[in-house]
Amino acid sequence: MKTIQSRTVVLDIDNIDTDVIIPARFLKVTDRSGLGRWLFANWRYDAGGAPRPGFALDLPEARGAQVLVAGDNFGCGSSREHAPWALLDFGFRAVVSTSIASIFQSNALKNGLLPVVVDRATHRRLLAQPGAPVTIDLEACTLTLADGTSARFPIDPFARYCLLEGVDELSFLIDQEEAIAAYEGRTAPEARAT
C-alpha cells in the first residue's frame, strides 16, 4: 500500500465510539467477514432495520469512497477489532481526524486501515467539503487536497514500514524467539502467572 486516491465521506461528529462504529450485538461472530453491512448500524438503519435516508455513507456520491473524515477523538471506546474490520469491509482504507483513539489506531494499522491524524486547519477544510478528492501518500506521510495543499501526518514508523513492505508483525515477533527465550530465562519466578 503506497497511496490512496479517493473522495471523502464526512461524519462531522466528535468522539465517534466503537459501539457506534459497530454495535455489540453484531460481535457475536467467530470470523471477521461481512461486517461492513453493520457499519454505523444504529445511525444507518432505523429500529425496523430500514435504511435512514440521507445518512452520509449511503449517499450516491459516497459510493466507492475510501476515505472517512470524522470529528475529534475517533474510535474511542472498546478494543473490538471488529471496528476496523467493518470499516475495511465497507470499503474504507483510511480514517482522517484530529485525534484517533490508541487501541483503534493500533487495530487499524494491523489490518491496513490508515489512521490519518491531521492538523485542525486541514481537518476544518475537509469537514467543509464532503466528497472532496484527496490523495494520501503513505511513503511521504502526506494528505493532499485537490488544490495541491498538503498536510503531513504522523504514523508509527514500524507500522508504516510493515505496510509499505508487506511485513507481517507476527512473523517479526516470531523471529525474536532467541530474545524472548532469554528474557524468560532471566525473569524471577514470582513474576509468573501460575
Partner: protein
C-alpha cells in the same frame, strides 16, 4: 540513580527488547486473559499458520460478554438460547481444550467478568504486565500492574509469542487530595476525573492515580477508578501497591505462598514511584469538594454533579446530537428525571462492596413501581458471597432481579437490554448510543445513586436518603 515512576519500573522490567528508532519495544506479557468475543479469530489465525500457544500457563480464559445471566435450569446449568452466543461459547471451549488453556466455563465456580475474576483469583499481581482483548483491562492497574486492552490481532501475537510490539506511552499523574465525602464513591471520583480531563484527555498516556484520597480507597474502589481509565482515552491506569493491596492478595488461590510470598512482597514494595520522579503531565483535584456524579450525554465525559444541569447555550453538533438522542435540553436539571431501568453490575461496579452499598440502601425499601432493576454480580464467587450475606434476599425483597454473573446489560449482547427510548441509570462504564440496546438511553452513576434512583423511580440524590 534516575528516579522512576511505577510505570517506568514495570515497563522496563518487561522489555524483551527496548524501543529503537525503527522498531517498537517488545514487551513480555505475564498474564493474558481471554474471553469469547475477541478471541475466536485469533485462534483461527494460530490454526491457519500452524502455531501453538507459547505459554498456556500464563493464559486464562472465561466467558462473560455474550453469556446469559438468566437463572439456572433444573439441571443446574445456565441455558444458552442464542445460537450465535452458543457458537462463540462453544468455540472458546474448543479452543481452550485444543491449546491447553485453563477455562472458567459458563456457570463454573470461577467464572465471571474477566476483570472481576483476575483479581479475585489472585492472578492479578503487582508489577505484572497483563493484557486482554478488552479495553477495561485497565482495571487490573489497581494492583500496580501495567494492564491494557489489545485487539484480536494482538491477542494472536500474545498467544503465539507471549509478547507485544508497543510504543512507549507517556505518563500522566492524577493526584487526588482530600477525602471523598459521604455518599460520594470511587465511581463519582472517576466520573469527575473524566469530566475534568475529557474523553480524549488521557490519550497516549498511562495514568498513575495518587494522593491521599487514592491511598484511602479499598482495593475494590481502586479497581472502579482504574477500570474507567480507558474512558479518558488512557492506555492504562495504575496505582502504587501498598498494604491494602498485599492484604487483599494474601491467601488468594493464585497468590504466591510461603517463601515466594515474602520474596514477592519485597519486590512489590519497591514498585511505587520514586520520590521526585517526573511525569509527562500532571493534574490534580480535591476529593472533598466532589458530589455524586451522573452523565447526561452519550460519552462518559458528559457528566455533572447529580444536582447540576446540562450545559446551557448552543450545544454544537456533537453535544446537540447527544442531547437529541438522550431527549434532554440544554440547561435541564437531571434530578427527578423519570427512569425505566436500573442496572447494577459490570466490571466497574459488580464486586461485593458495590453490591453491599446498593443493598444497604435498598434494605427495607421498595423499588418504585414500573421500574425494572437488574442486579448482576460480577462473578460466581461474588454471587456466592452475596448470597452468603443475604444480599440476594435484600434485592429480591426490594423488587429487583438477582441474576447469574456476566457483563449483561453493560454491553447488551446477551439479551439483557433496554428497549428503544427507555432511560436507565447504570453502574457500568459506557453511555454510548445504543450501548445498552438500540435506542436505549443511559445515565452512568454509582451503585448508591443507582439504588436511590431505583427507590425513587427518578434520578435521586442519594445523600438525602443517607441522612
Amino acid at each position: 540513580m534516575t528516579r522512576r515512576t511505577l510505570f517506568d519500573k514495570v515497563w522496563e522490567g518487561h522489555l524483551v527488547r527496548p524501543e529503537t528508532a525503527d522498531t517498537p519495544a517488545i514487551l513480555y506479557v505475564d498474564l493474558h486473559l481471554v474471553h469469547e468475543v475477541t478471541s475466536p479469530q485469533a485462534f483461527s489465525m494460530l490454526r491457519e499458520r500452524g502455531l501453538g500457544v507459547r505459554r498456556p500457563g500464563r493464559t486464562v480464559a472465561t466467558m462473560d460478554h455474550s453469556t446469559p445471566t438468566t437463572p439456572r435450569g433444573a439441571d443446574g446449568r445456565i441455558p444458552v438460547v442464542d445460537p450465535q452466543a452458543a457458537a462463540q461459547i462453544g468455540a472458546l471451549e474448543k479452543n481452550c481444550a485444543e491449546f491447553g488453556i485453563r477455562l472458567f466455563a459458563l456457570g463454573s465456580d470461577g467464572q465471571g467478568i474477566v476483570h472481576v475474576i483476575g483479581p479475585e483469583l489472585g492472578l492479578t499481581q503487582p508489577g505484572m504486565t497483563i493484557v486482554c482483548g478488552d479495553s477495561h483491562t485497565s482495571t487490573h492497574g489497581a494492583f500496580g500492574a501495567l494492564a491494557f486492552g489489545i485487539g484480536t490481532t494482538e491477542v494472536g501475537h500474545v498467544l503465539a509469542t507471549q509478547c507485544l510490539l508497543q510504543g512507549r506511552p507517556k505518563t500522566l499523574a492524577i493526584t487526588v487530595e482530600g477525602r471523598l465525602p459521604r455518599g460520594v464513591t470511587a465511581k463519582d471520583l472517576i466520573l469527575a476525573i473524566i469530566a475534568k480531563i475529557g474523553v480524549g484527555g488521557g490519550t497516549g498516556h498511562v495514568i498513575e492515580y495518587r494522593g491521599p484520597a487514592v491511598g484511602a480507597l479499598s482495593m475494590e474502589e481502586r479497581m472502579t477508578v482504574c477500570n474507567m481509565s480507558i474512558e479518558a482515552g488512557a492506555r492504562a491506569g495504575m496505582m502504587a501497591p501498598d498494604e491494602a493491596t498485599f492484604e487483599y492478595l494474601a491467601g488468594r488461590p493464585h497468590a504466591p505462598r510461603g517463601a515466594a510470598w515474602d520474596e514477592a512482597l519485597r519486590a512489590w514494595r519497591g514498585l511505587a514511584t520514586d520520590e521526585g520522579a517526573a511525569f509527562d503531565r500532571e493534574v490534580s483535584l480535591d476529593a472533598s469538594s466532589l458530589e455524586p456524579m451522573i452523565t447526561y450525554g452519550t460519552n462518559p465525559g458528559m457528566a455533572i454533579p447529580v444536582r447540576g444541569s446540562v450545559p446551557e447555550g448552543d450545544p454544537g453538533a456533537t453535544l446537540g446530537k447527544a442531547l437529541d438522542y438522550m431527549g434532554l435540553r440544554p440547561g435541564q436539571r437531571l434530578l427527578g428525571h423519570p427512569i425505566d431501568v436500573v442496572f447494577i453490575g459490570s466490571c466497574t461496579n459488580s464486586r461485593i462492596s458495590d453490591l453491599r452499598l446498593a443493598a444497604g440502601l435498598l434494605k427495607g425499601r421498595k423499588v418504585a413501581q414500573g421500574v425494572r432493576v437488574l442486579v448482576v454480580p460480577g462473578s460466581q464467587q461474588v454471587k456466592r458471597q452475596a448470597e452468603g450475606e443475604g444480599l440476594d434476599r435484600v434485592f429480591r425483597d426490594a423488587g429487583a432481579e438477582w441474576r447469574e454473573a456476566g457483563c449483561s446489560m453493560c454491553i447488551a449482547m446477551n439479551g439483557d437490554q433496554l428497549q428503544p427510548g427507555q432511560y436507565a441509570v447504570s453502574t457500568s462504564n459506557r453511555n454510548f448510543e445504543g450501548r445498552q440496546g438500540p435506542g436505549g438511553r443511559t445515565f452512568l452513576a454509582s451503585p448508591l445513586t443507582a439504588a436511590a434512583t431505583a427507590v425513587a423511580g427518578r434520578i435521586a440524590d442519594v445523600r438525602e436518603m443517607l441522612r
